[in-house]
Amino acid sequence: MSQPNDKVNISLDTGDGIDDHKYLVFRLADELYAAALTKIREIIKMQSVKPVPFMAPYFRGILNLRGQIISVVDLRLKLELPCKDVNSGLLVVIDTANGPIAAVVDDVVVVHEFLPSAISRELAIKTKIRVDFFNGVAHLNDRLVNLIDIGATLTDGDFAVVKRVSEGELKRSA
């Protein structure tokens, strides 16, 4: 069960009520990414994630979030970035079209406001993000931040790698 101290000490509540341009900036394999704050439900520490058979490698499994079962997607693998130790990182719980999904990120950095005028739609840095999930790049201090449509990224594609167990495979293993 998640205890209150699982909460990560970064305030998602920005107080002024206008969150449209606020983004959560997080780190993945030494690059910075940002997702719209309105999509983010909470950030929790890494906890016991149970794998699910037949699922693609980036699907890390399921976890128990206060009695609700939530899918965990490894954002590094999903974006084809080099994978690190599976036990490190933080879980960012995102509201997606499929309901809440927890994304594994290396670290969360800051909540920052990027005004539309500060966002460049051009692909300034090399990125593996699909164009339709890429919302542009912006500067944060001296670094570039990739703005992504995190909900669409997480729910994209087929999660299951096996839809049916084939007879051939079974006989081989029997």
Partner: protein, 604 residues
């Protein structure tokens, strides 16, 4: 019609109520037909029609109100006993019910739909005037000339939005067929399940509030203990014990909030039986029992169609014709009985007829010709009967309109599987057939067997299991072409390893045990670690798949516990055999399996 949100809201309330009105009215009519005319019943039907009329008027559904008015006129005449309630008139009234129900469904999604029920109005007139009664005085609403439609055919004419009154002529048979096959697209709009409204007895809500009230008090006691650091004290222990009782009560009560009586479904089935019997020329006496039993709303919704299939099957296939019955020395009136019994956390629904019984030889011959089994195969009787649930099976030589498209029983089996229930057949040639469906009361809490496979815990609903065994005590052998099999009390049962079925080696990150049997038991701290002497155990569970036993070897059987089912997200769609999630007693998330779904692709 301009959009008026307030009126729309009232209309939706009306639509919700109206469904109940119509169900009640139909039930009343059926009761009158079955058990005879009483003034009480007619009065009840009259009140229902009257209320319906009033409400329909007030929300602007004038056409519906007019039809209800006509309905009411006829009931008034019946009340005054100016003419008898003939079967034809009952059919006319029932049909009128159906039309109102369809109209309401359309109006639910499209408030601007203009109902035109002139045809039904004149038809009702005709049905009553046919009885040559002075009481069926023309009302102000009838416009079209009345001719006598042939009610025995039954027909479906849908009113559409144009204002042209339809000419009331008896529908031709061709027209009937057409409307049967192509229902109007209007009614095909999918309904949003989320908008569903449940009726809950006020007493249950009061109970709910009471329990929650006590929980709040108890919580503050615990908070207090927490502040004063006296959580180990007697007061705290007592509060925790009481809290767990309250939670248990709350759990039971919250499940009961979703329980609804099975009565309306039984009523619909009675109607089905009646309609089918009259269309195939059979005489039946429909007996139901236990309609007060309560089931989860979603269970009732999902079992409704399969039961409908079964009743149709029973009347059309199961029951013999009056002539056949007399030749066999039976009463010409067949008995179809529908019974519901609540037992612990299960409900049994029994559909029984005293008809022909299942014909083993015919089933065998059919199964052979369909390629389901090989000719000359030795099959136990129960297995033969189970063949009727196989896909594409139908023994009736002639496919009838009523049933016999060869999909019916397969649908029943699938629905029962989905609901984590099971179905049994008892039959005797010439004496009848009984189907016994066992369903869990609620879908949200089940008994689960927690097992380990691929080093991970999975839940198997206990309802799927027949028994658990220790494989080392029996001989298993490898059979060419089919894999491993186990010989248990003279039966040969195929054996699969759950870890293989769950894709051993194809997932990643799970530390996996050796593929070769025998397996070492994991988790020495759990129950089955009785001592060092039984280090090598090969626990397995036996489940039924399409009426046949199948053995699933597991790494370990952890325990049996109550499982609260959790819905999984759309990303789990299509995964073989994974039906739900659950939080296990150690607080970890687990997956609930359907063994049936898991081996559907491998065991033919």
């Amino acid at each position: 019609m301009s959009f008026d949100p307030q009126l729309r809201e009232l209309q939706l309330v009306f639509i919700d109520e109206a469904k109940q009105f119509l169900d009640d009215a139909e039930e009343t009519l059926m009761t009158i037909e079955a058990s005879g005319f009483t003034l009480d019943l007619i009065n009840k039907a009259f009140r229902l029609a009257h209320n319906f009329k009033g409400s329909a008027h007030s929300v602007g559904f004038t056409a519906l109100a007019n039809l209800a008015h006509k309905y009411e006129d006829i009931l008034t005449a019946l009340k005054k006993q100016l003419y008898p309630l003939t079967p034809a008139l009952t059919s006319a009234l029932l049909h009128c019910n159906d039309v109102l129900r369809q109209e309401i469904l359309i109006l639910k999604d499209n408030p601007d739909h203009e109902s035109s029920v002139d045809y039904e109005l004149s038809a009702l007139d005709a049905a009553s005037q046919n009885l040559h009664s002075p009481a069926a005085a023309p009302s102000a609403h009838d416009a079209a000339p009345a001719t006598a439609p042939d009610w025995s055919q039954g027909f479906e004419i849908f009113s559409d939005s144009d204002d042209k009154p339809k000419v009331a002529t008896p529908p031709s048979f061709a027209a009937v067929k057409k409307s049967d096959k192509a229902p109007p697209p209007k009614s095909a709009t999918p309904k949003n399940e989320g908008d569903e409204i449940l009726k809950v007895p006020a007493a249950r809500l009061d109970q709910l509030l009471n329990i929650i009230g006590e929980m709040v008090v108890n919580q503050s006691i615990l908070d207090d203990c927490n502040h004063q650091a006296t959580l180990g004290s007697g007061t705290a222990t007592q509060a925790v014990a009481y809290m767990s009782k309250l939670v248990h009560d709350l759990q039971g009560l919250s499940i009961s909030l979703r329980l609804v009586p099975i009565r309306p479904l039984f009523q619909k089935l009675r109607r089905t039986a009646r309609d089918v019997a009259s269309s195939v020329g059979k005489e039946i006496n429909f007996v139901d029992e236990g309609d007060y039993c309560e089931l989860d709303k979603s269970v009732i919704d999902r079992i409704a169609d399969p039961l409908n299939h079964m009743i149709r099957n029973a009347v059309d296939h199961g029951v013999d014709t009056p002539a056949e019955r007399q030749a066999a020395g039976k009463s010409p009136v067949a008995i179809i009985s529908l019974t519901a019994i609540t037992q612990d956390d299960q409900v049994k629904i029994i559909v029984s007829d005293d008809g022909r019984g299942l014909n083993k030889d015919k089933i065998l011959a059919k199964a052979v010709s369909n390629g389901l089994i090989q000719a000359g195969a030795e099959i136990a009787d129960d297995d033969i009967y189970a063949l009727i649930f196989a896909p594409g099976f139908s023994t009736k030589e002639q496919v009838t309109d009523v049933s016999g498209r060869g999909v019916g029983m397969e649908v029943v089996q699938r629905a029962v599987d989905d609901l984590k229930g099971n179905i049994k057949i008892q039959t005797a040639l010439g004496r009848g057939t009984t189907f016994e469906i066992t369903l869990p009361l609620s879908l949200s809490i089940i008994g689960g067997m927690v097992v380990q496979a691929n080093g991970q815990r999975f839940v198997i609903p206990v309802s799927q299991l027949v028994e658990t065994i220790e494989l080392n005590k029996y001989s298993t052998e490898t059979i060419t072409g089919t894999g491993r099999a186990l010989s248990l009390r003279g039966e040969v049962i195929p054996v699969y390893h759950l870890s293989d079925l769950l894709g051993r080696g194809r997932g990643r990150a799970t530390p996996r045990p050796m593929a070769s049997a025998p397996q070492l038991a994991h988790g020495s701290s759990t129950k089955n670690a009785k001592g060092d002497a039984t280090l090598v155990t090969r626990p397995a569970v036996i489940a039924m798949h399409r009426g046949k036993k199948v053995t699933f070897e597991v790494e370990e059987i952890i325990n049996q516990q109550k499982i609260v089912l959790k819905r999984l997200g759309p990303e789990f769609e299509g995964l073989p055999g994974i039906v739900a999630g659950a939080i296990l007693s150690n607080g970890e998330p687990g997956l609930v399996l359907s063994l049936d779904g898991l081996i559907a692709g491998v065991a033919a």
